[in-house]
Amino acid sequence: MNLRTAWTQRRYAVLILLWAALVTLPWWLPLVGSYSALGSKILIFGLATMGLNILFGFTGGLSFGQAAYFGIGAYGAGMTLKYLAPSTPLAILIGTLAGGVAAAILGPLVMRRRGIYFAMITIAIGQLFYFVAVRWNNVTGGEDGLAGFERQPLHFGHFTLALDQTRFYYLVLLCFTIGVVLMRGLLHSPLGHTWVAIRENRRRMEFLGVRTDLYVWASFAIAGLITGLAGTLNALLFNFTSPQDLHWILSGDFVMMIVLGGMRNFWGPLLGTAIFVVAQDYLSSITGNWMTFIGLIFVGIVLLFPKGLLGMVDRGKSST
């Protein structure tokens, strides 16, 4: 019991530190020689990987095509701003819903598959959207990507807030917080416990009369929704989106970030994302062969740290 309280206390301390670090990030990030867009990028990708981890780490669905929903969110937001209405909240809302709806529609195709087949089908479905984005030139901008939109100031009654880099970071942090609260809530609900049970022993759940495919479908749709939200923010961050945001390489990166941080831990994906994004940013600035190094990181993590960083800290504790 004592040990347990100690764990809980330490846990709260770490969480408070984490949130404090996130809130103050625009002040200290330049001090360590970085730039605040990188902070936004880490949070955005972190949100995407944490959303994916609902499906991946907690439900056990090996989705290797999650970039599709990230990209749909990004294109949804960009196209809303470009063709529909100059409103940032509307762009986020439409992009997020587009990601969620796409996942909800495609979910039935994958919800009954397991393991390796689940992975294969999600990869292939993801590529469909890639080619739509590349080929539907006059709407999506094709290979060159969708440009020509800009995130718009926020309006609160008579008060207008222009979104510079720092303010946009706080908008990202707000969306991130909403996403985290939502995911936390879901994982602590009966739904979340059912997901974990399906991951642990799907067949047993079926014998107990649980419609496991419906739960996997729900997980797929929610992961798509959250990843879509992250995608919209990514489009707004760069005022640009390209087919690379839909490509399976990005899907693989997402999975790698999760594994790196620890897929059985709620916060693992965020840690993995932070390390991965910073490493990629740094490596690509010092060597043209950064892809080789990223590849070596993949191989090294798989062979040496399959449980991820937080997975090693967490050993022996409960997973949620």
Binding site: A119, F131, M291, V302
Partner: protein, 289 residues
């Protein structure tokens, strides 16, 4: 009409490459339980090695040795990396490992041979059209089809009639029982992986004469090959070939009428197959449903 035939034939050639890739993927998937994301990398290795060796070995020699070397490199990768993952039940790790390998291979290819594409030459005698009306049917394209048929038939005979082949087929059904009967499944899996990489390398060596050589060419052939495996039916080699040819020709025909959709149609076919017949055209029920 001629345009349709022209595009359909181009699609068939593409489909042949998909089918070769899908054969290797399906082999590795069924016995090694690995989704080989680096399969496109082995295609590129085969293509570039064949190109590099052509001045020394001649066109035909390189066409044989290039893919064989891809198989040998595949064997080395299997021995050093992949085999460590067999004990892990989760397919995630082999997926990530081969994904990392794909990045490494693509990057090293770019470093060694350059990011610009290389024009792989086809012998003069093969580059000529066979008839003046059907100008697109060159000798080389016929050779591609012949070699592919020969390779697929060879694989079929190997799996059907040799001891190794029978063991491989038995292993895809129940690996533990095969091991319990005294077969060294590690050697079996290593050989199988190398064979899969050989097929990828063969696809690369053949494709270089049509598509040219670029470091990311493996990527663009990898995904359709996945689709070929899914459409044909996981666990069925014949299905993989059929799936590859089907989506290749379908993409070719689509090019005639609506070029922009020629890639998307491949994935559309997959979605339709998944809805109507989830196990794939020739897949066995137990594997997939």
């Amino acid at each position: 009409m001629e345009l349709l035939f022209f595009n359909a034939f181009n699609g068939l050639i593409q489909g042949v490459f998909y089918a070769l890739m899908a054969l290797g993927l399906a082999l590795i998937l069924s016995l090694n339980s690995v989704i080989n994301m680096a399969h496109g990398g082995f295609l590129v290795i085969g293509g570039y090695l064949a190109f590099t060796l052509t001045p020394y070995l001649g066109f035909w020699g390189a066409l044989v040795v290039g893919p064989l070397l891809a198989g040998v490199i595949g064997l080395a990768v299997e021995q050093t990396l992949i085999r460590k993952l067999y004990k892990r039940a989760d397919p995630l790790y082999s997926l990530l490992l081969t994904f990392g390998l794909a990045l490494i291979i693509q990057d090293l290819t770019r470093t060694i041979w350059g990011a610009q594409g290389l024009p792989a030459a086809v012998p003069e005698a093969l580059d000529r059209p066979l008839s003046s009306t059907l100008f697109f049917i060159t000798g080389y394209r016929v050779v591609i089809i012949e070699i592919t048929v020969a390779a697929a038939a060879g694989l079929y005979l190997l799996l059907r009639y040799t001891l190794v082949g029978i063991r491989i087929r038995a292993g895809t059904r129940d690996l533990e029982s095969v091991a319990a009967l005294g077969v060294n499944i590690y050697k079996l899996r290593a050989l199988n992986f190398a064979m899969g990489c050989f097929f990828a390398g063969l696809a690369g060596a053949l494709a270089s004469g049509i598509l040219g050589l670029t470091p990311p060419m493996g990527d663009s052939l990898l995904m359709p090959s996945f689709v070929a495996v899914i459409v044909g039916g996981v666990g069925s080699l014949g299905g993989a070939v059929l799936g590859g040819l089907l989506i290749g020709v379908a993409a070719g025909i689509t090019t005639t009428y609506y070029p922009a959709a020629s890639e998307a149609v491949i994935y559309f076919i997959m979605l339709v197959v998944l809805v109507i017949r989830p196990r794939g055209l020739m897949g066995q029920e137990s594997v997939f449903e």
